[in-house]
Symmetry: C2
Subunit: 562 residues, 2 copies
């Protein structure tokens, strides 16, 4: 179709899947008219739900069309989208299922039983129509009939035969992804030409040009104001009642909502845990309850982003694991999703291991162009939420903590935080090591410093708050480490694999700095925060003990005095 429209040359069609081509094995944004990068199955309908909700929010009249395969709809995320679309009564969403009855290797789940699909969709609350997918006139008529005011999402179940019109292939397994060559290729092309003709008429006007919604036009980053008024933060500082970074995130998000109408917030039935409810209370129109369906939520965010919005998407850090493929595909499609995972690490305590984010750093680090932020107090949370809103190159992720910070607010309101930065929290002459911490472990590091100072003046350490884990501030870390005995101790509330310790190690690969790491060593259990930090060996005592061992390694004489 794009070739007929003059957007792709015939030569380019023959370059399909070649290194130099904009046409890849599955659609990506190398081709300018791609609407969404797909290829991992089932993500399309959720993206469509996001686009349809964006249309409603922006009071725009366009319809969103999503093409699915009948093999693909076995994917659970499709059913999340089906439920949510029905819940939100999205009249402006039209799904088309190509029901050819064949998957890659077998017949599909319900074979060619198209009336069963109709019953299923209708029971969910969709308006469903069955058509002959090979009858162009019937298809056109059906598409026209979709523009009704029925407050239901619509689905066209198109009965088709795979390889229709090619007698040697039609309705048969074994041709999925197969390339026709030579005589067979010629036969196939001729059969298609005979059936479809060459007389289609298209003009440039037939190419839909999406416009950014009003919100984003008016409230882009140029008009952005600081989200952290000094009065507000001073009030917080004066309250003397520590809050958690998840609460600070909720406050910052609401503040951001005030200065930027393009911000929308999605949450998976945990708004009272992630504190996105603070945003909802002030901006109910821009808050979307996504229920317990994290996959659909993430891909909905892709749809909102595509229509010019700035989506913040929140759930427990652990539960983003459920949507990792959707996040991977969003990264592939260069969607600037802002993901916020609460309840990081063993520090959540009693809820137990299934609720602890212990691999989220690893999962977010390995995405192209991703940014990974992990604040430890109110001020840094505010500033990093602001930084995320302004990061448009890919996925950004904020890791928040369940329990309030013991030591209250760490930073003054005028401290600056930026993507790729870190903070030297404590520095001293003749430090023998630098402790690199983030989030909750910053406070453990500060306590460890006090423990060590009481034991010997020789056991002095520097402390870095590595609030930006990706990108990481290599230059500052190297500079501080070289002034601190060229010893680093990393400490993180996360498994060792793919976490802060490995990030530091990779950044410093070509230096002579020694790196020692503390991380959660095994499957945790329920318990109190302090018990679990001690069990994992990531509390102040564990840090202090490791520093003493390093001192012992470096100079056995120092140790003898203890």
């Amino acid at each position: 179709v794009w070739s007929v429209l003059g957007k792709i040359s015939e030569q380019e069609l023959h370059n399909y899947r070649k290194f130099s081509s904009v046409l890849e094995g599955h659609p990506t944004f190398r081709f300018a008219y791609t609407e969404a990068a797909t290829g991992a199955l089932g993500v399309g309908l959720s993206i469509g739900v996001g686009e349809a909700l964006a249309a409603r929010l922006g009071k725009r009249s366009y319809y969103t069309y999503v093409l699915l395969g009948d093999g693909e709809i076995a994917e659970g995320c499709v059913w999340e989208a089906i439920q949510i679309a029905a819940h939100y009564q999205l009249h402006n969403l039209v799904a088309i299922v190509d029901c050819n009855g064949l998957g890659q290797s077998d017949e599909v789940l319900f074979d060619h039983d198209i009336t069963r699909y109709k019953k299923i969709f209708e029971s969910f609350g969709w308006h469903a129509v069955i058509v002959d997918g090979h009858n162009i006139e019937e298809l056109l008529h059906t598409f026209d009939s979709m523009h009704t005011s029925i407050e239901q999402p619509k689905i066209i179940l198109a009965k088709t035969v795979k390889g229709y019109g090619l007698d040697f292939a039609q309705g048969k397994l074994g041709f999925h992804g197969k390339v026709f060559q030579g005589e067979i290729y010629k036969k196939a092309i001729d059969a298609l030409r005979n059936r479809c003709g060459n007389d289609a008429q298209y003009t440039e006007n037939d190419v839909w040009k999406p416009k950014l919604p009003k919100a984003a036009e008016q409230y882009g980053t140029q008009n952005r104001k600081n989200i952290l008024p000094s009065k507000e933060i001073i009030t917080l500082l004066c309250e003397q009642k520590p809050i958690s970074t998840r609460q600070a995130f909720g406050q910052a998000l609401a503040a951001l909502g005030k200065v930027n109408n393009a911000v929308v917030v999605l949450d998976a039935d945990v708004k009272n845990s992630t504190y996105t409810e603070m945003f909802e209370q002030q901006f109910p129109d821009r808050f979307f309850q996504c229920f317990i369906a994290e996959q659909n939520m993430v891909s909905m965010g892709v749809g909102f982003h595509r229509r010019g919005y700035i989506p913040f998407i929140a759930t427990f850090a652990a539960f983003f694991s459920r949507a990792h493929d959707q996040i991977r595909m969003a990264a592939l499609g260069q969607s600037a999703l802002r993901l916020v995972g609460s309840h990081a690490g063993v520090a959540i305590g009693e809820d137990g291991p299934s609720q602890m984010g212990l691999e989220d750093i690893a999962l977010m680090r390995c995405l192209p162009k991703s940014v990974l932020l992990y604040p430890c107090d109110v001020v840094s949370t505010y500033k990093l939420v602001e930084a995320m809103a302004n990061y448009h190159e890919g996925i950004s992720y904020l890791r928040t903590t369940r329990l309030p910070m013991e030591s209250g607010v760490l930073y003054a309101e005028n401290e600056q935080f930026h993507i790729g930065g870190c903070k030297v929290v404590y520095q001293t002459e003749n430090a023998m090591a630098v402790i690199i911490a983030a989030g909750i472990t910053v406070f453990e590091a500060l306590k460890a410093k006090d423990i060590l100072q009481q034991q010997s003046p020789l056991l002095s350490v520097a402390i870095i708050d590595c609030y930006s884990i990706k990108p990481i501030d290599t230059a500052t870390i190297v500079a501080v480490a070289q002034k601190s005995g060229s010893n680093i101790v990393t400490v993180e509330d996360h498994y060792a694999e793919g976490g802060l310790g490995e990030a530091v190690r990779s950044a410093l690969a070509h230096t002579n700095i020694k790196i020692f790491s503390l991380a959660v060593p095994d499957l945790p259990r329920s318990g109190e925060k302090s018990e679990l930090l001690a069990w994992a060996g990531i509390d102040a005592d564990a840090i202090a003990n490791l520093v003493k061992k390093i001192a012992d390694l470096n100079n056995r004489k120092i140790i003898r005095g203890w």
Copy 2:
């Protein structure tokens, strides 16, 4: 209930969620009678599908019961299980949905509209019954009625009120996960006592004791035979037609199936790509087509494992990302799933980035007790498949490659491979570096060695095939590196974060060995294998160039001669 049965003391009930207790925030196997570790929502029904299919396979008459929440069933994986259970007509699966209408933070998707759920389940092909969830007699009667020969999975939709009988809480939001204290606690306990009474009678016989299926009793690892008869491998070696590791996996799996009846195989509509079809052809009863629904497939595997089977679960490496939360929960429940991900890395070529496994190493490394294997030829694939079958402590993962190995078979049939091992593929006096490769990059490393040898006798390198990435063979790597100029070059067809390079770096953290890493640096594209390996900088030329740079760093004199 377990307390009434005498399996938990009243004191232990009061220890709920404490560090010393077997009762965690969500069920884990610390409590001996736990059937499945849950807490991430929606995995239960899939585990039940696996158990029900295991019953059918083992010709056992038990029924499997799964309790779900109506908030939970928004999760897509539940709908994958609903479709598959209907497809397999699992009469021995009974689901119960506690329909109380309330989620954690809001009303559930379809509120309290229980007849809508009934219609939906019936349209999928389930036998559905609505009951009053507070009427014990009606519940008992309904449970009895489930033991019918109707060839349908069954669902009991139990209409309930959250906090029923506690006038101050019932049917209200805001009590999710809240602990009652003092007077309110007393009032709540009294209300429950008055309603339920204390006269329940249970005996030890009421505790169901699962038995291992016949298959596992007869064909445990003790009776295991070598799956790789020498004749078979010699035939392979003589064929002189290289095959890929995914094909070798398919052959090995079929060979394993012959000697172990407990092996079952699950595949998500890509059996002709992963080559599990080789197993299916010989053992159709033990092969389960799971359609394009990876999440349900993984949790089904947990059910099979729980009933004594050895599940091998295969799809593209990239698509295991879709099921990462289910894999995380399987690891938490100490299920010995054998996962096999094909189409690793940019080496797949034309299909493009959405189909390339580029983060699977990171995703599998960060699971407690996981094992990560990555063979490069036929012999190592066979031996590692055998090793996986015998690994029962947790998740094991095998990474396979799409294209045949250029250099054919690398290892002789009598070579030994084991979890935690590596192979020194090439070693020489005065090597200036050791290249650590795995899978496809082993062959690039061999070519790099030849390129370097042609350029200068001083540029000699050792090569390690790091086929076991977790656990990793630290001792051998250190020993070879120390004999090779204390320089390591890692090269992997995977993103840098969380991959082979970081695994090596973490293992060697406390040595003076320098580690240089090559990995896929950015989002890839479609193209030919050789183009993509060159683009990513992980081919023989890239390795050779890096080694020359290291030589330059170490001794500028060597270089001057070039």
